[in-house]
Symmetry: C2
């Protein structure tokens, strides 16, 4: 790229960014939805947990579905950040159990923790990992979940991850990112890797 | 969802997942590219850093572009994980500087650190945050960057983040996820938030 072309492009970008910053004048907590079929939703949620902890904020994590096998993110939080409340549904992937009643009961128990945390005025960030599947499988009533998210503690930002989620959750969310899988090592026969995939 | 319908769906999913796992029989390091215009690329890269640290792996981070303002992820790594090598280009967003020569020199200096880390046999994971912009702006020669990624230490997995990246980088990557922005709080006038956006 030519230097003058580069400088002009950057000047235009600066004007655009400065204008957007000037327009963004409201400070409030946000609801983020990370959805889509690609790798990086849960990972991104935990990246936000790390970011908030870096600022000394109070964080909690509730994992729906996951929890039968240890993950690097769980090991790290438990070893280095015992102050982070961390709940897991612990039934593993439901396709391994094929037990609707047991899964639903586990989802409800786990949601009770989430409901309590959504009302905790001391919390800054709450990660509800893979919550969307609880709605897709109708383990949890969508209306109650949406209401609890809407009526959360005012200073609490929430990150919801998982495919789908439904149009009402998308409408309620302030930020929605869709992670699309363009390619996955798995498809080329590469095994899931510690520190990368779990 | 009906219980029998649910159990059947889960049984089908289990068969599909089991079959994929059986086919994935190669263990090797991977190159991941997190691209697209949505929120969650850098965050996901840092989530993977956290995941690898949870397993006691050795990790390093090189941030291109970012570095004039503190971020939560930087604060956390510096305070809790001083063993993580962490380099930042430190020129800030280039649209603030509009100085091609200075930016290019900074990119080259930063890339030298990346090149060294790509050859470090003790490392398990290296995050090259926003490297794609260095290619887009032609601050770094694409051929040399691709070669260094291809010839990296065999046990080292690498995460590259940033919009674009080019078709050759996509072809070289084992896993490519595109983060698409469906909605951003910013557009509704909500200010960037500590612990969420930085």
């Amino acid at each position: 790229m030519q230097a003058d072309k580069f400088n002009n492009a950057m000047a235009r970008q600066k004007a655009s960014v400065d204008s957007s910053i000037a327009k963004a004048d409201r400070q409030r907590s946000v609801l983020l939805l990370l959805t889509g079929d690609g790798k990086g939703k849960t990972t991104s949620g935990f990246g936000m947990v790390l970011r908030a902890l870096g600022w000394g904020q109070r964080v909690a994590v509730v994992q729906f579905i996951k929890g039968t096998q240890p993950s690097g993110e769980e090991l790290l939080l438990r070893s280095h950040f015992p102050e982070v409340e961390f709940f897991q549904m612990g039934t593993g992937f439901t396709w391994d159990t094929q037990n609707f009643a047991a899964d639903q009961a586990a989802a409800e128990r786990t949601w009770q923790e989430a409901e309590r945390l959504l009302q905790d005025p001391r919390l800054d960030l709450l990660l509800l990992d893979e919550l969307t599947y609880m709605l897709a499988y109708q383990f949890l009533p969508a209306a109650a979940v949406l209401q609890a998210l809407r009526n959360r503690s005012p200073s609490l930002s929430v990150v919801v991850t998982g495919r789908g989620g439904g149009s009402e959750l998308r409408a309620l969310a302030d930020t929605v990112s869709e992670v699309k899988s363009l390619k996955h090592a798995y498809e080329a026969g590469v095994q899931a890797r510690k520190g990368v995939d779990y």
